[in-house]
Amino acid sequence: MKTIRLQYFAILREKRGQSEESRQTTATCPAELYGELKAAFHFPLTTEQLRVAVNGEFSAMDTPLNEGDEVVYIPPVAGG
């Protein structure tokens, strides 16, 4: 069990109903953690449609997660 800090943006923030939380999880990577969150909060996107940032940097979906990591899932961007 480790504690992961999550920030949510855009459609994920709206679906979650809040913009951040700390979560206890046994997930070992962002893909696994997303599976857990998707089931809990009915997120409308799959990991194929997302990128992920761990501790403020784009990372692979199978990056090992460590205690206290900050994870942000990035829906398709649409700036400008």
Binding site: A10, P44, Q49, A53, V72, I74, V77, A78, G79, G80
Partner: protein
């Protein structure tokens, strides 16, 4: 180039402010681009927009794009400012300015930066439509989750 070449702006800004620091007697050309909030998109009437950013990573990725532009093109200076928050039709959503000795590098670099910013920087756009609906652009499932607000 400074750390602050890419900036997020929470309020309306005047492009002359970021541009004012770019005057340089060695520059022969200044290319700039302003993205404006349009009153329509994909056949729907748009009345306003919301831009939401993940600020830490947006700043980092925005400045990374500017570093790339310096490596790819012979430019003197560049700035990019992207709005966040609620914008009305006609407001400036994003601004890019580039100075170079020659205009070709200024044009190419300006276009490179805006293209990459739109594709890579974690900023999301929610459109509010005249019919009362709204939706996150490029979120493929948004149509199924459109809601009244």
């Amino acid at each position: 180039m400074t750390q602050e070449s890419f900036l997020l702006a929470g309020k309306a800004f005047d492009p002359r402010d970021p541009a004012s620091s770019m005057k340089n007697p060695a520059a022969g050309g200044f290319s700039s681009f302003e993205g404006w909030v349009r009153n329509h998109n994909e056949g729907r009437d748009v009345i306003s927009l919301e831009y939401e950013a993940y600020p830490d990573l947006a700043n980092r990725e925005g400045n990374r794009i500017i570093d790339e532009a310096f490596k790819k093109f012979d430019i003197i200076d560049t700035r990019c400012v992207h709005r966040t928050g609620h914008l009305q039709v006609g407001e400036i959503a994003v601004w890019v300015g580039v100075t170079a000795k020659h205009r070709q590098d200024a044009f190419r670099s300006c276009r490179y930066i805006i293209d990459e910013v739109k594709a890579r920087v974690p900023i999301w756009k929610k459109e509010h439509y005249a019919d009362g609906h709204s939706g996150w652009v490029r979120c493929e499932h948004c149509e199924a989750h459109v809601h009244r607000h």
